[in-house]
C-alpha cells in the first residue's frame, strides 16, 4: 500500500513536470521585454522557493532537536533527520538557483553576477548550509547532531543580517514580482504555466526530501541497533 502510494506520487510528479515543461516552453508567450530568456523564471523561482522552504524546515528541525534532545529522544531523532534532509536537499535546489540566475542575468543585465542583496544572500545561505553539511561530515559521534543544530540556528540568524547589509550596499535584482508594488505581477497568460511549474517542482522537491528523510531515519536505526549489539556483546 505504501509502495503504491509512493509510486503514484512519483508518477503524478513526473507527469506534472512534463506538463510544466510543455507549459513553460510552448504555452507561455514570449516576454515583451526580455524575449525567450525569461522562460528561465519557470525554473529559477520555483527552485528558489523550494530551497528557502527546505532551509526553513531545516531550521525547525534544528530547534526541535535542541528542544527535545533530553525530554523526548525519539522526537529529537526525527527532528534531526528533518534538519539534515532539509539542509541537503535545500543545498541542491539552491545550487540550481545559483546556476540559472547567472544564465538569466547574462542575457537580462549583460553580466553573469552582481553583488546585489538577493544574490549575495542566496550565495551566503548556500555557503552556510554547505558548511553545515561539512560539519555533519567531519564531526563524528552522537554530539554531531547537537553541534549541527547549533550551527543551523546560527546560520539562520545570519540570513536577515546578510540581506539587510547587502540592501544598504547595493541592489540590482528586480523588486518582488509577486505581491510587490503597483505594476508588479505577471501577465495572466504566464501565470498559468508559472503555477504549474511551481506545483511540479514543489512536489518533486518534497519527494526527494521525504526520500532523504527516510534514508536518514534508516541510518539512525542501524546506528542504534549496532550500538545495542555492541553493548550486548560486551556482556
Amino acid at each position: 500500500m505504501k509502495k503504491l502510494a509512493i509510486g503514484l506520487y512519483a508518477a503524478i510528479t513526473v507527469a506534472l513536470m512534463i506538463w510544466g515543461f510543455y507549459q513553460a516552453i510552448y504555452v507561455a508567450p514570449t516576454d515583451a521585454m526580455q524575449g525567450e530568456i525569461f522562460r528561465i523564471i519557470f525554473y529559477h523561482v520555483p527552485s528558489a522557493s523550494v530551497a528557502f522552504l527546505f532551509f526553513a524546515i531545516s531550521l525547525l528541525g534544528s530547534i526541535g532537536y535542541l528542544a527535545y534532545r533530553h525530554s523526548h529522544p525519539e522526537w529529537a531523532q526525527v527532528a534531526d533527520a528533518w534538519a539534515l534532509a532539509g539542509a541537503e536537499v535545500g543545498v541542491v535546489f539552491c545550487t540550481v538557483v545559483l546556476t540559472t540566475g547567472p544564465l538569466w542575468g547574462r542575457r537580462a543585465w549583460g553580466i553573469w553576477w552582481t553583488w546585489d542583496a538577493r544574490l549575495t544572500t542566496t550565495l551566503v545561505l548556500w555557503l552556510i548550509y554547505v558548511s553545515y553539511l561539512l560539519l555533519r561530515r567531519f564531526a563524528a559521534g552522537p554530539q554531531v547532531q547537537t553541534l549541527a543544530a547549533v550551527l543551523g540556528i546560527f546560520g539562520a540568524l545570519d540570513v536577515p543580517i546578510v540581506y539587510m547589509s547587502n540592501r544598504w550596499w547595493r541592489t540590482q535584482h528586480p523588486a518582488p514580482v509577486f505581491g510587490g508594488a503597483e505594476g508588479s505581477g505577471m501577465d495572466k497568460s504566464m501565470l498559468g504555466p508559472f503555477m504549474w511549474n511551481m506545483l511540479a517542482w514543489m512536489m518533486w522537491g518534497v519527494f526527494i526530501l521525504i526520500l532523504r528523510y527516510n534514508v536518514e531515519r534508516k541510518h539512525q536505526q542501524y546506528a542504534t541497533e549496532e550500538a545495542e549489539e555492541a553493548l550486548a556483546a560486551n556482556f
Binding site: 535542541l66 551566503v124 555557503l127 552556510i128 554547505v130 558548511s131 553545515y132 561539512l134 560539519l135 567531519f138 564531526a139 563524528a140 552522537p142 554530539q143 554531531v144 547537537t146 553541534l147 547549533v150 550551527l151 540556528i153 546560527f154 546560520g155 540568524l157 545570519d158 543580517i161 546578510v162 539587510m164 547589509s165 547587502n166 544598504w168 550596499w169
Partner: protein, 222 residues
C-alpha cells in the same frame, strides 16, 4: 563579574604573557597577508586607499583563526577541557573569558600592524580617524566572539583545525562586509560609516547573546 570568569581570564593572559605564542604567530601571519596582497595587487594612490581597509580586515581574519584554534586545543592536553566541563560554573563565563582574552590579543596585533599598514600602503586618513577606534574593535569583537564559539564547536570534530574557518567565515560575512565598507569610508572620507557601525553593533549584540545562551549546549554536547 564573577570569580570564575576572572580566573579563566587571568589564566589565559598569564599563559600568553609567558609564551606569547598567539600574538607572535598572529602578528607574523597578518604581516605576511599584508605583504602578499601588496605584491599581488601593487596598490598605489587612490587604489591603495580603496583596498587597504579590506586587506586589514581580511589579514586580521586569517590571522585570528590560528590563534582561535589554539585557544581550545591548548585545553585538550592534560584533560583540562574535561575538567572545565565538570566544573560547577556556567560555561558562559569560560566562554566570555576566552573571548575577552582573544579580543585583547587580536587588538594588540591590530595596533602593532597599523603603522606598518600606513607605511606600506602610503595611507593618509581622509575621514575621522576616531571612528576607526570604534569600527575595528566592533568588527574584531564580532570575529573573536563567533570565532571562539565555533572553535569550541569545531574542537569536537575529527579535523578540527580545518573546520573552524569553514564554518566561521560564512557566518562572519556580513560583519566583514560592514567592517570593510566602514573602514574604507573612513580612509577615503567619501561616505558616512555610521550605518555600518550600527550594523556591527547589532551583529555583535545578536551573536554574542546567542553564543552565551548556546555555549553550554555545545560545550556539554555528547
Amino acid at each position: 563579574m564573577t570569580s570564575a570568569l576572572w580566573t579563566h581570564l587571568v589564566k589565559d593572559l598569564r599563559i600568553e604573557w609567558r609564551s606569547k605564542d598567539a600574538i607572535n604567530s598572529m602578528l607574523f601571519f597578518a604581516l605576511l597577508v599584508v605583504v602578499l596582497f601588496s605584491i599581488s595587487f601593487d596598490p598605489r594612490g587612490d587604489f591603495a586607499r580603496d583596498i587597504a581597509g579590506g586587506v586589514l580586515c581580511v589579514a586580521t581574519m586569517f590571522a585570528s583563526v590560528s590563534a582561535l584554534n589554539q585557544a581550545w586545543a591548548r585545553e585538550i592536553r592534560h584533560q583540562v577541557l574535561d575538567a572545565q566541563r565538570m566544573a560547577p560554573t556556567p560555561g558562559a563565563e569560560l566562554f566570555l573569558a576566552k573571548v575577552l582574552a582573544n579580543f585583547l590579543f587580536v587588538t594588540i596585533v591590530q595596533i602593532a600592524l597599523a603603522p606598518v599598514f600606513l607605511v606600506i600602503y602610503n595611507l593618509r586618513i581622509q575621514g575621522n580617524p576616531w571612528q576607526l577606534a570604534l569600527v575595528l574593535p566592533l568588527g574584531t569583537w564580532a570575529l573573536v566572539a563567533n570565532g571562539t564559539f565555533f572553535a569550541a564547536l569545531a574542537i569536537r570534530s575529527r579535523n578540527r583545525e580545518l573546520l573552524l574557518p569553514l564554518i566561521l567565515f560564512p557566518i562572519f560575512l556580513p560583519a566583514l562586509l560592514a567592517m570593510v565598507v566602514a573602514t574604507k569610508s573612513i580612509l577615503t572620507g567619501e561616505s558616512d560609516p555610521s550605518l555600518w557601525i550600527k550594523l556591527l553593533v547589532g551583529y555583535d549584540i545578536i551573536f554574542t547573546t546567542v553564543s552565551l545562551l548556546l555555549f553550554d549546549v555545545i560545550f556539554h554536547a555528547e
